[in-house]
Structures are given as C-alpha cells and as structure tokens.
Symmetry: D2
Subunit: 178 residues, 4 copies
C-alpha cells in the first residue's frame, strides 16, 4: 500500500526576488489547480507538507514567513494556499527540499512513499526535489498544471527529464488520487 | 581566526518525559552558569543558536515550543534562557543536533568553526553532538557546569570521552572567551 | 521479520597507530568469539559487511588495505577475519560507519534492520556507530566479547550507554542468532 | 586561491546497460578532449577523482570495476582514461556523485573548491552532480566537449540549466586552466 503526501514547495513567498516578474504570471496560473488539489488532499486526510525556503532568516519560523508573505503585494498568490491546523512544515535553506532538512526522516516516520510535488520553480526546486526523491526510491508525481516556472523552455525540458530519467508521473492535478 | 557560537541544546522543554525527575535538579544547577554564559555571548555579539527537539510536532515552530514550555510547571527552567531577537534556531527530530538538520550548513555560512555545547543531556545529546561536531572537524568546548545529566556516572564518562577521544575542551562556563 | 547483518568495524588494520599497544591485547582476546560469530553468520547466509577506515588513502581499495594488513606485524589479528567471496565492503573516512558512507543506503537496499556491531574500538567507533544506527531506527546488538577497547573504564561506560540510551542488546557473541 | 579538481564520472563502464547504443557514439566523441584534459591535469598536479557507480556490486572495488571494463567489448572507451598512481577514487551507488558518498568530505580535506565535471551522462549524473556541487557552494565547470549524452535535446537543456541556475561555467575542455 502506497501512502501519498502533497508537498508544496516555496509557495510562502513575498515574490521580491530577481525573476519574480517572469515567475508571478506562471504562479497565478497554477494557483487554481493547486488549491483544488490541496482541498482534495485535506478532505482525504492525506498529509500536506509545506517545504519552504527560510530566505537565510535563521531567526524566523514558518508562522513569521507566512505573516510576511500575507502582508506583501502578492498576498493573493499566498492566501489560497494558506496552511491549516493539519499542515506539516519543513524549512529548507537551499534549493532541494531534501538538502540538510529533516524531510527524509519525516517521510519515513509517516510511512510516506509517494510524493506529489507542487509549487515552484519547475525547472529548479521542483526538478531538484524530484531527483532527490527518486534517488531515495520514493515514487514521484508532478502535476504539470500545479507547478510554476520562470523559463518555459527549461520547464518543458525539466518535465521531460523527470518523466524519462526519474520515473516521475507527469499528470494533471485533477488526476492525482488519494 | 576562530569564530565561536554558543549552542543551547534542548533547553526549551516541558520536562514531562520519562527521566525528568532525575534531570530537573541537574538542570536547575546548570541554569546560573548557563544564563551568565548566554549573557556574555550576547554582549560579545557571538551567535547563540538554540537547537531543540520538536518532540515529533511537525506542525509547531520554535515560537510555539517556547510558549508551551513557558506555560508549563517548569517555566522557571526556561525563563532564564529565553531567546532574544538575535537568537538563531534549528529544530531537530532526533538526538544529535546535526542529524537531518541544517546546522552544518548554517555554521559554514556563518563561518563558525568552534561550538560551545550547553544544555542537556550530557551523556546523550551533548555527547552525540560533540561527536558529530568533531567528525566535521569543528572545535568543541563543553562547559561542565552548563550541561545537565540524568545519570551522574555516565555523564562523567561522557565528559572523559569528549576530552580524550573528541579533542573537546572541558572547562567551566566562566572560562569560555568570545 | 527482522533481517540481521554482522558488521565488522576497522579490523583490517596494521595496528601502527597511537594507542595500538593498549588495543592489541584486547583485540587478541576478541578474535576467537568474533571469528566463530563470523563463521556462523556465513553458514546461515547472513550478510557480513566489513566497514573499514581508509586511513586517508583515497587511492586504495579494500583489497589493498587487506594486503597491507596481512603483510604487517599483526597479520595474526587479521588472518582469522579474512573476508571471503560473499563479504560486502564499505570504506569510511571518519569514526562512525555511517558518516559520509553508503551504509544507510546499502542496509535499506538489502532490507537489513538489525545490525550486530563487532570489532573496534568499543568506546569509540562501536559506540558512535551504535548511536548512528539507533538514530536511524535500526535495531542494534553488540556482542561484548567480540569488541575491543583501548580504555577498559570507558568501554564499560560505552556498553552501559548503548544498553540504556540506544536500546542496544548487549550480549555474548554465542547468543546472537541468525 | 581556488583549488581545482577534475572529476571523471562513470567512465569506468562496460556499456552493457539500456541506452548504451545511444550513449556510446557520444562517449567516443568526448574521449579525445577528455583524455587531453586528463593529461593536462596530471601534468599540472591537479587532483583527478574518479567517481564511479559500483553497479550494485558491494563486493567489488575500483580495481575490479576497471579490470571488468577493460575486458569488455568497449575497452577502447576506457583505456584512454585509465587511472594512474595519483588518481583518487570514490564509489557511488546512485546518480549524484555526492549522494551517500565521502566526496564532500574528501573535497573539504583537500581544500578543493572548484570541480570540473567530465564524463557521463550530461543530462543525468553530470546535471545532478552539478546541482549538488552548487548547493554545497562549490564552483562548477563543465567542459561541454568532455561530457557525453543519451538524448541531445535534454543534454542541451541540461547545459543551459547548469549555466543559468547553477552558476556553472560551460566551456571547452581546452579552456580549463589549472
């Protein structure tokens, strides 16, 4: 029996970094599918894990990251994905959701062997996290309408790499089952 | 030039676990030396890093862990060590402060090559963390009056192991310089 | 169903390091129980994994380490524990058998969840490896007559730490079953 | 002062895996530039590190992997890159050269902060290793004529990802200086 978790990557965000201009429209487009997926996961009782960069803020916790993002000019991209009382959190310092984080341990403790990777950026953190999940023998699904990119051509190549070389299931968010 | 950080291990605590009865008196005894060391570190501008177990609470952040500890029956053991606005935080899931945490990365980023390990438990997390620091070629100091134990005989052996086999400097808290 | 592997730590050794004088008699005493355990593991088809320091020799492989040890003055301590065609090998660079080695991966791939730690040094690599196994939720057995020490008092404390704080089964080699 | 190492990925190979048909011509094309780079690195005294898959052979060492590759039908792709007495070796079990290997430790011990990634496969292990080097704050160079691919379109995207998102220097092998 496989146990599935939805992983929401770097969506608690103030969007004030370089490349944000290119990223924001893609995020806006991914929000509807992602928020519906989130709703279905919660209804099914599937774990939802927010893995988010701490932006070098070793003093902050995820509550503060969320407050800051919700107070910023792009609150509309954060509000629909607000964590609830059942959400789990892992803070990361670098690109991959696994690098120097307790995620491997958390997944093993919860018996999760299938991760649905959502969020941003398709050709960066999502790609890197898919690799690190595959290398750990986890099953990977990437709903292509629930991830956001900066460069469309690299995102397209990233999805092909994940499908071909990381055994990832590339699908629509509506096709993910719990 | 060496750069020193004070690391406070597992002191944000509700003390409701097994062995707490044996541990609490030792913690009470370590608090004065530890709080003076903390004060001196802050005055000197040395980084103070709280590394704390999350007690399996993947929903909580360090602010919540602190609130819970300060609301408990042993608030007097937590209050004198309260983090301030300059404190850094790393949450751990298992015994060693390095296991599946971003601490190695944080120390490298901050240029810290010398760690002063304080807190609890001498013969458990402090010993394990000293080993993991030594294995990473960090210089280790353990102020023996600022660590707390459950079993005095094992704590004594742990201090001897750290001195002999992990090149740790075992000293009094007052002898740590910044 | 638990699957057990025997792990032989640092026994491919030239014994030309500091403390060798204190270590050699303890190794000599552990050899009979250890070689009988090795024989029984092989007869039962249980995996035997040699995890050995590379002594900073990033050019050497385990065949060369073995040749060098067998050509040295303490070949008698190495000969009875000679690997055979079914032996597995992991080379380590630092104290713990898990630190920056593929051992976690190898054990998971082989479905091994119980490790019998043998070899040297009880109060150093054996202790550290027991901790790193316990932290990874592996079951740990340490046959006290098949491990060797430098300092008897620290070895005794190490065995008590492993039993009390790492849930290790401390027993005689003859009591290990496969 | 930067210190540079050449890293030769997965070139000790029997080429009997799926996709070998697509890979072999690209490897053949990369050999001349790669063997000249290797020669120049040796002449300059720069460390050359062979990082190679063990193909699940936990019994083998790199000497045996080499013998097997040199006895196979594609010995001509291995012979020009033969290790010499100054070569260093790291064995890996999975795609990235850093995953569960001692490479991070070896590079730190040798003071190497710049890696020149050569070998195969551009859009797989080379890409993944570039990411894992970048995430560790190592400087990365990839000589595009000294790496080999299976799928040309993905290799091209991989090189663009490395340049844009991993700060990698993509150049010709002849432009690498020691």
């Amino acid at each position: 029996m496989s146990k599935t978790a939805v992983i929401i990557i770097d969506m608690i965000n103030t969007y004030d970094h370089p490349d944000a201009d290119r990223l924001v429209p893609s995020v806006a487009k991914a929000i509807p599918a992602l928020s519906r997926l989130l709703e279905r996961a919660r209804a099914a009782g599937a774990p939802v894990i927010y893995v988010n960069d701490n932006f070098g803020e070793w003093r902050s916790h995820h509550g503060e990251l969320l407050d800051k993002a919700l107070a910023g000019p792009h609150a509309d991209l954060v509000e629909p994905l607000r964590p609830d009382d059942t959400s789990l959190f892992v803070v990361k310092a670098r690109h991959s959701i696994f690098y120097e984080t307790p995620l491997t341990y958390l997944l093993a403790q919860e018996g999760i062997d299938h991760v649905v990777l959502c969020g941003q950026v398709t050709e960066q953190c999502v790609l890197y996290s898919a690799l690190d999940a595959h290398i750990r023998h986890l099953q990977v699904t990437v709903p292509e309408d629930a991830v956001a990119h900066i460069h469309a051509d690299l995102a397209d190549a990233a999805l092909r790499m994940m499908r071909r070389n990381m055994d990832a299931n590339i699908c629509k968010a509506a096709d993910v089952t719990f």
